[in-house]
């Protein structure tokens, strides 16, 4: 019985890997809110705040959530909470996000969407105003899943390449 050529096997492996990635999808992530608290409180209320909350009126869980938000100017020091896990009234205050699912097509639309994904809220506590920024984000997929998919595509490209080269060497 004639054995299949190596180039044919490589091309088949490449095609299979390519198709697996093409058909499969990365696990969908629930929308979340990225938050950061200004480390400097003010005596006067902020003019550009979207909402003002009194700390005493918050439920214990909402107070705890507020207290746990990192206080920093560094944009990398934030906390990410899935929308569903936000305690009230933070859940109601959280930015609604854009209803549109298709990507924006103009800069003006980007600006419009930007206003829908960000909220600046100030919390009044002991006569001081603490501002907190809530940004609605789409969390990135797990790195493991991304690397697995990327590895499969690179494998497909490699198998295609070596298969094609063997075929070209035989044919030309």
């Amino acid at each position: 019985m004639k054995r299949p050529s190596l180039w044919a096997v490589l091309l088949l492996v490449g095609l299979l890997l390519y198709a697996v990635v093409l058909v499969g999808s990365l696990p969908a992530q629930d929308p979340a809110v990225e938050t950061q608290r200004d480390p400097n409180s003010t005596a006067e209320p902020l003019e550009h705040a979207d909402a003002t909350i009194h700390y005493e009126n918050l439920s214990p869980s909402a107070q705890r959530w507020f207290d746990d938000v990192p206080q920093s100017d560094n944009q990398y020091e934030t906390t990410v909470t899935p929308i569903k896990k936000l305690p009230e009234p933070w859940l109601s205050i959280a930015p609604p996000g854009s209803e549109a699912t298709a990507p924006p097509t103009t800069e003006a639309e980007v600006q419009r969407r930007h206003t829908k994904i960000q909220r600046i809220v100030q919390v009044e506590r002991d006569g001081r105003y603490h501002s907190i920024v809530l940004i609605r984000i789409s969390p990135r997929p797990p790195l493991q899943a991304v690397l697995l998919r990327l590895g499969a595509i690179i494998g497909a490209i490699g198998a295609f390449g070596f298969g094609c080269q063997r075929w070209l060497t035989r044919t030309l």
């Binding site: 996000g97 990507p103 390449g161």
Partner: protein
């Protein structure tokens, strides 16, 4: 016709010598890594709902253009000097080919390798991109592929010009390395130094520039930046050489002038 015969042979040689497959694989792998990084790994991916599909193509081209000078130079640097050293150039010229045919044929053949590799790599990755993201736009993606291929062809031309004027592979290799360093690192570094003398640093952050317009022309004259918008965001100048169409002029200059000079040198040189 004679140049086309040489071009065809060059292309077939590249297919046999793994150059074509190697370059295509390298470009496709780098492209897919860049795409995955931008779509799923980079911190900015969490705000992908704010991305314009038109921003992905230029970003990919910009990143890929770090690699293209290397690939273009490697494809072209040994094309003529290698044959000159081995003696096969003399043999080639005993056939009814003129020296102009040799340079033109070598350039066309290697340029075809670059163009086909870029298009194939973009196609393989593009199918995955289209299937997995709504940010895919065929027009933007195809434009990015064409721009990358054109810049690649320019670097092939520069490398072949180098290969034509030098007499040893070792010199050509160092020349090619020098070219890569010049276009990938040195050009921008020297311009940054020039910029520090021309402009106070404080103005740069607000996008208002006091730099003379010729500075942007110099920056753009690097084939890597030919298609890039090198002016600051609030730039309101009207110099014709900073218009988008001028990128074609820059690339044509880089295609014609080095090859032209190399041809004139080659026409007069002794092959012995």
């Amino acid at each position: 016709m004679s140049a086309l015969t040489i071009a065809r042979k060059e292309f077939e040689d590249a297919l046999r010598s793994r150059a074509f497959v190697g370059v295509t694989m390298l470009l496709a792998i780098v492209l897919v890594i860049l795409l995955y990084f931008q779509l799923y790994v980079d911190r900015s991916a969490r705000l992908s709902a704010l991305w314009l599909p038109s921003s992905i193509g230029p970003w990919l081209t910009e990143q890929l253009l770090f690699l293209i000078p290397v690939v273009g130079t490697l494809l072209g640097y040994k094309s003529i000097v290698g044959e000159r050293e081995s003696g096969s150039l003399k043999l080639l010229l005993t056939l009814p080919h003129s020296r102009r045919d040799v340079i033109l044929g070598k350039f066309l053949g290697r340029a075809m390798v670059m163009v086909c590799s870029v298009f194939l790599a973009f196609f393989v990755v593009g199918v995955q991109f289209a299937a997995s993201s709504e940010l895919f736009s065929i027009t933007v993606y195809a434009t990015a592929a064409v721009k990358t291929a054109l810049v690649g062809v320019t670097f092939v031309a520069i490398a072949i010009a180098f290969s034509t004027t030098l007499r040893s592979s070792l010199l050509a290799m160092w020349g090619a390395f020098g070219l890569m360093v010049l276009f990938v690192f040195l050009w921008d570094s020297v311009l940054t130094l020039v910029k520090s003398f021309l402009e106070p640093a404080s103005n740069d952050s607000v996008g208002i520039s006091e730099l003379p317009e010729w500075f942007y022309l110099l920056k753009r004259f690097n084939p890597r930046h030919a298609f890039a918008d090198v002016t600051p965001p609030l730039y309101d100048g009207s110099a014709f050489y900073l218009e988008p169409w001028f990128s074609v002029v820059i690339l044509v200059v880089w295609l014609v002038v080095p090859l032209g000079i190399a041809y004139l040198h080659f026409e007069r040189s002794d092959l012995a």
